[in-house]
């Protein structure tokens, strides 16, 4: 692991070789298969991948939310010097909402429909700071103002169904930051929103990160959002990291064929008859994946070694590193 880049200095969150397996009737799914990443103080880090790549699962397991049947097979999640995987329930609860908070994907379903917005936000402070309801409500109104909700006093007294999707996502962000956490994890925070609202929420996340001096871990499939918000970026595919580095570096000279393909699929190509480029082939079966590189089934530049051995982490200077045999100084001998 290279030291965290970005603004603030020291490492806040370090995930090392995290492996999470899910037992199903058809076999064991290797949802996360050895992912390592760091988030520095006041740094903004993106984890990018397509659906099923394990990026959301990674975020959830940091908070200790693993789905039924899932078990963390190995790895360390150290946050502010503590190993989160070793914490008991009470220890984890003390951190959730207070030091580590999360914004989820769908603002429509992640708010309690029967509770006033102000109470849902204030509850964080009632739990962690022992505030009374009245004081918690006042602080909730402040949090709503911070996320730029117009007339926050009114909204605090309203129920989720009275708000638009964008307003609800703002309320969820207010709920996440009201406890003044050190790290905010945002899992696809704009996927369920209208395009115009998406831009507002992204701008808000970036502003809040700056104003509150917190670190941001953004889980997304959208490279455009990453470009707007993040300092560094990890590209994950089928439970493994493919490439990592500063956003600028990766956008300018990506080295992994998967990153290149992702970047190509973002652009709407007018010259090519207005088509959108996509990546051919299928994601490998996460139950019994083939040995070697996970991207081998879709890689346009696949070599025999890719089908045999998992590529090692190859540092490329600075934060940049790639997991691809193409950039190995020498290839291991894989002849049969």
């Amino acid at each position: 692991m290279s030291g965290a880049g970005g603004a603030g200095g020291g490492t806040l969150l370090a995930v090392e070789d995290l492996r999470l397996h899910i037992d199903t009737y058809r076999g064991t799914v290797r949802a996360i298969d050895g992912i390592s990443f760091t988030v520095g103080q006041q740094e903004s880090v993106g984890i990018v991948g397509e659906s099923g790549s394990g990026k959301s699962m990674t975020a959830l397991s940091v908070l200790g939310f693993t789905p039924p049947g899932a078990r963390v097979v190995s790895g360390r999640v150290s946050f502010e010097g503590r190993d989160l995987l070793a914490l008991n329930d009470a220890g984890m609860r003390a951190i959730r909402g207070a030091r580590l908070a999360m914004v989820f994907q769908d603002p429509m379903t992640f708010l309690n429909p029967l509770m006033r917005i102000g109470d849902q936000i204030g509850e964080v402070l009632v739990t962690h700071r022992g505030l009374g309801r009245r004081e918690a409500r006042a602080r909730a109104v402040e949090a709503l103002r911070l996320v730029r909700i117009p007339s926050p006093e009114t909204v605090a007294g309203q129920y989720p169904h009275q708000l638009s999707g964008g307003m609800r996502q703002r309320a969820l962000i207010a709920m996440a930051i009201v406890g003044e956490p050190a790290l905010l994890i945002a899992d696809e925070p704009t996927t369920a929103l209208d395009v115009t609202v998406q831009a507002q929420i992204i701008a808000l996340l970036r502003d809040i990160k700056e104003e509150r001096g917190l670190s941001l871990l953004l889980i997304t499939h959208d490279l455009g959002i990453v470009a707007h918000v993040c300092d560094r970026l990890y590209v994950v595919y089928a439970g493994r990291i493919m490439e990592e580095g500063a956003v600028r570096t990766l956008f300018a000279r990506s080295m992994h064929p998967y990153t290149a393909a992702l970047l190509a699929s973002v652009a709407y190509d007018e010259d090519a008859g207005g088509t959108v480029s996509f990546i051919e082939g299928n994601v490998p079966n996460p139950i019994d994946p083939p040995p070697g590189c996970r991207f081998q089934t879709r890689c346009p530049r696949v070599m025999p070694v890719c089908r045999r051995m998992q590529p090692p982490r190859l540092p490329q200077g600075g934060d940049h590193a790639v997991y691809c045999w193409l950039h190995a100084p020498e290839l291991p001998d894989v002849r049969d």
Binding site: D106, P113, E123
Partner: protein
């Protein structure tokens, strides 16, 4: 929602007005049904050995000689003016008799309903926390039994065990016969008499409340906003009772309100088995003695009660769930 209470008042008024044709319909159907049944109330009232003249006099007195539609029209008019007629058997106004028995039934009903809701929901919450745990399996099996056992059979078994065999509790009635207790002693006496019928009565409804709440709660605990609550660092108890239970209760309240009619049916059984001097037993007795005005009067009052309770259930649901609008 908050602020003005006018929409609620208007809603209640509208619902009550809507209930009028319902009550008229119920009265009509019951009136027709009961006249179709074989048997002549005058003969029954006069007794087996009465002479013809006595029977005729009774017929005249109670208007049983009039054509059916006259009897019906007269009855409807009287119901509308809150006069439910005179009981053949008790020779007293129906309203007076029913209202005299009503508090006894309400006592039984409220205690049983309260018991079944509180216990049923509490056990459901504990079960839903860990579905398929030993606790859940035990509670669910007991609930299944409570749901399946006929109320009258359970009542008789309770009498057999706790009254006949163990002699701990009275077999029936509401007061001790020789007792002339007052104050707290009277309350204690009634409570002793209440335990068995309330248990027999509550078993079914507790089972129902338990099964409904448990199923809804397990479903609710998978909702996304439960994850949000956990993300905030709330304790599992707070997540369960503060977030999940309230959401799960919305449909439970609606169903329990609808099933209030079933509870009335239960009252007839339990009050008869335990000789509880309530409206249910009164209903049973009036059927046996073909006391038409009394039976019809009970129907009217009970159906009005069911309508009011349904309205209450809807109001409580709207109170719990702000998404339910009063329209």
């Amino acid at each position: 929602m908050s602020g003005s209470s006018l929409p609620i008042v208007l809603y209640v008024l509208r619902r009550l007005v809507q209930a009028v044709p319902l009550v008229v319909g119920i009265v009509t159907i019951n009136f027709i049904l009961i006249r179709l049944a074989p048997g002549d109330p005058a003969t029954l009232l006069a007794g087996e050995f009465a002479d013809r003249a006595t029977v005729d006099r009774l017929r005249e007195e109670f208007g049983l000689n009039e054509p059916l539609w006259v009897q019906y029209a007269t009855y409807l008019w009287k119901v509308a003016s809150l006069d439910l007629g005179h009981s053949y058997r008790f020779r007293a106004p129906v309203t007076e008799i029913v209202l005299g028995r009503l508090p006894n039934t309400l006592l039984l009903l409220v205690v049983s309903f309260g018991l079944s809701m509180v216990l049923g929901i509490l056990l459901a919450a504990l079960s839903a926390r860990r579905p398929n745990s030993a606790f859940d399996n035990t509670a669910s099996t007991i609930a299944m039994l409570g749901y399946c056992l006929p109320m009258f059979w359970l009542g008789m078994m309770l009498i057999l065990v706790f009254s006949s065999l163990l002699g701990w509790l009275p077999t029936g009635g509401m007061y001790s016969l020789r007792g002339n207790a007052t104050g707290m002693a009277l309350v204690a006496d009634i409570a002793r008499h209440l335990i068995l019928p309330a248990t027999a009565y509550a078993a079914y409804f507790m089972a129902m409340a338990y099964r409904l709440t448990r199923a809804k709660l397990i479903e609710t605990l998978r909702e996304d906003y439960i994850r949000t609550a956990r993300m905030k660092g709330l304790s599992e108890r707070r997540v369960l009772f503060g977030h999940a239970l309230r959401n799960a209760m919305v449909p439970v309240i609606a169903v329990m309100g609808l099933d209030f009619g079933v509870m009335i049916g239960g009252a007839v059984v339990v009050e008869t088995v335990f000789s509880w001097p309530g409206v249910g037993r009164l209903m049973y007795e009036s059927i046996l003695s073909r006391d038409y005005p009394l039976l019809l009067g009970i129907f009217v009052i009970v159906s009005f009660g069911v309508i009011v309770v349904n309205l209450l259930a809807d109001l409580v649901a709207a109170l719990v769930d702000p998404r339910i609008a009063y329209d």
